[in-house]
Homo-oligomer: 354 residues x 2
């Protein structure tokens, strides 16, 4: 039985992507070789990398606007360091909206001066701070567009005159915003884009080359750009599967089309949370994430019954993060509406039983 | 037609590993979910990671000897930096045997003082320097066990009283040496261990924690060890496929058994290079690599004929690196003897034609 996969990441991928990826492991395009046992310098793989890089920009409406796309390794956690190494000269501003922002701040602080422009740590990050000021002589402002753990999402893109850097790991390609407001976007692939093992970095070239430090080669965006995202052997399978997922998204009509589906899923989910007296949402309503709905039972005695019903319905991966507790329904691009319907049905069945 | 795959890396993997990896992409162990769409914190994947880490040590005879195995991201190129960040306090020695050693030296130099204890750059790295001295107050000695580009291999493990660090990317698990002479071993997976996208690091814990710098979290071996190689989301597919390859090696009888096969393949290959007047080996005979045989045609006019014959015989990936030219036959663990026989046959056929 195929399950309803609400996993927070690594997370659900389209079945047709999984099937193609699986076939390429055995024989890539009738070449007699697997995609994972050919040279990354072969035409076959260079084509994959170039196609993935082009699609990454095209689907965000960023082609021809001075941006380059890179498929790197090391996750967003490596980007916490890399962003600071490439952009931090004197002082940067960070908006602290959760566990990932906090980590990004910690790593950047090891290199230089960091100022928290605002934080919602006072309320266990259940909202997004608004109305903060960012001095115009800062090197950049760093924000996190979606907070998987807490289920909040940045709805207003900060208006600043300095480079704007954003960790979009958990909502890139899910909504139709003006991506050109950002100068550097990074995202671990394992939510909306592909399997774990590669990190997309999209950077406007003109913000680079302005720091005085001697950047280690493997941390230097300029060197990665110069080598066509092949400064060293890339994570072949993760890049290939990301390319397939981006092709799938394009065929569906791109970000504008998937946004409509995501809105439908989120709306159904949050309606149930709000109307069912047995459940209570965690995040402030105006900051609710379209990707991750966090909620708790209002009566903990129902925990066992509810969780048994979830298992029986084939619903997987809805346990909340330990720092919030309760439940989290991650509704990434590849999750079908019917999975949300299945979850909502279990929730409403619980209500009729209780 | 399945090809004879001599690719230098990413390179050939055992067919049974490819098949299992391919199945797990569609449905992992009848769970109804793909291995790449489940949480890395799920029992299913934690078991994979722990099994891979244990096998990595066991196959090198390093269990219970104070070592930890990590499956990281970023390739050997990231290790060039990470080794220095974790171990370099004042000065370290580097043995320069090729392009990868040269890069390792360059990156470490950005952090502190590096001394080249010996180099074979004078002869385009066609031999391994011997009889060098390493001061006993250095932080560590770094060497490269096998040089894919030049086809040389370190036969004598340097005898030093300081920590010995080795880049074994292209010959780990291929030969039966005393791995406990090393204190830190690192290896990109994409030769003998798995697909591109993960890097094995094996480190003796007691050499860590001795530098004064504030190591960035993602670069800190101690933090990776503490989190069970899951400081951040690991490259799930690459770790899983590496585990399958290590299981395959164990079932074959381990490193001692594969060494015998590798010796047979290399011996057949080098015999042909030495006995066939149309070919000439590149590396000094006593330093020849069992993994990568580098050779040139003695008469360049035969190039086209030879290369056409290679294609017709289904032989793939034998082009030499641009810095050496000619040909390179990479004979990693998964390459069957019959593939070497097929190549040798083409070489000897060329002789009979010429």
């Amino acid at each position: 039985m195929k399950k309803h996969n609400f996993s927070a990441g690594p997370s659900i991928l389209p079945p047709e992507v999984l099937l193609k990826a699986s076939q390429a492991i055995v024989d890539y395009n009738n070449s007699g070789l697997s995609i994972i046992e050919i040279s990354h310098r072969s035409k076959d793989f260079v084509d994959v990398m170039e196609n993935a890089r082009a699609l990454a920009l095209e689907l965000l409406g960023l082609e021809g606007k001075g941006y380059k796309a890179l498929f790197l390794q090391g996750g967003a956690s490596t980007q916490f360091l890399m962003v600071a190494m490439n952009l931090l000269e004197k002082r940067a501003g960070y908006l602290n909206t959760g566990a990932w922002s906090t980590k990004a701040i910690k790593e950047a602080k090891k290199l230089d001066d960091i100022y928290e422009v605002a934080s919602s740590a006072d309320a266990n990050f259940n909202y997004i701070p608004k109305g903060f000021d960012v001095p115009s002589d800062y090197d950049y402002l760093h924000c996190t567009s979606n907070n998987t753990i807490f289920g909040t999402q940045l709805k207003q893109i900060p208006q600043v005159d300095i480079p704007l850097v954003c960790d979009m790991s958990s909502d890139i390609y899910s909504r139709n915003i003006d991506y050109s407001k950002f100068d550097l976007i990074y995202a671990g692939a394992q939510k909306n884009m592909g399997p774990a093992g590669t990190t997309l970095v999209i950077v406007k070239e003109d913000i680079l080359g302005k720091v005085s430090r001697d950047i280690p080669s493997i941390m230097d965006y300029k060197l990665h750009i110069k080598s066509g995202s092949m400064l060293n052997t890339p994570p072949v399978f993760a890049v290939y599967t990301s390319m397939l997922t981006l092709e799938w998204l394009k065929a569906k009509g791109g970000v504008a089309a998937i946004e409509k589906e995501n809105e439908k899923k989120a709306s159904l989910m949050y309606s149930e949370i709000d109307l069912n007296p047995l459940f209570k949402g965690f995040a402030a309503k105006e900051d609710r994430s379209m990707m991750n709905a966090t909620f708790n039972l209002t009566n903990d005695n129902l925990k066992e019954t509810f969780e048994t019903m979830l298992v029986e319905a084939g619903i997987s991966g809805v346990n909340g993060h330990r720092s919030v507790g309760g439940y989290r329904a991650s509704m990434y691009n590849a999750l079908p509406l019917e999975s949300v319907k299945a979850l909502v049905e279990v929730m409403s069945e619980l209500e009729s039983k209780a």
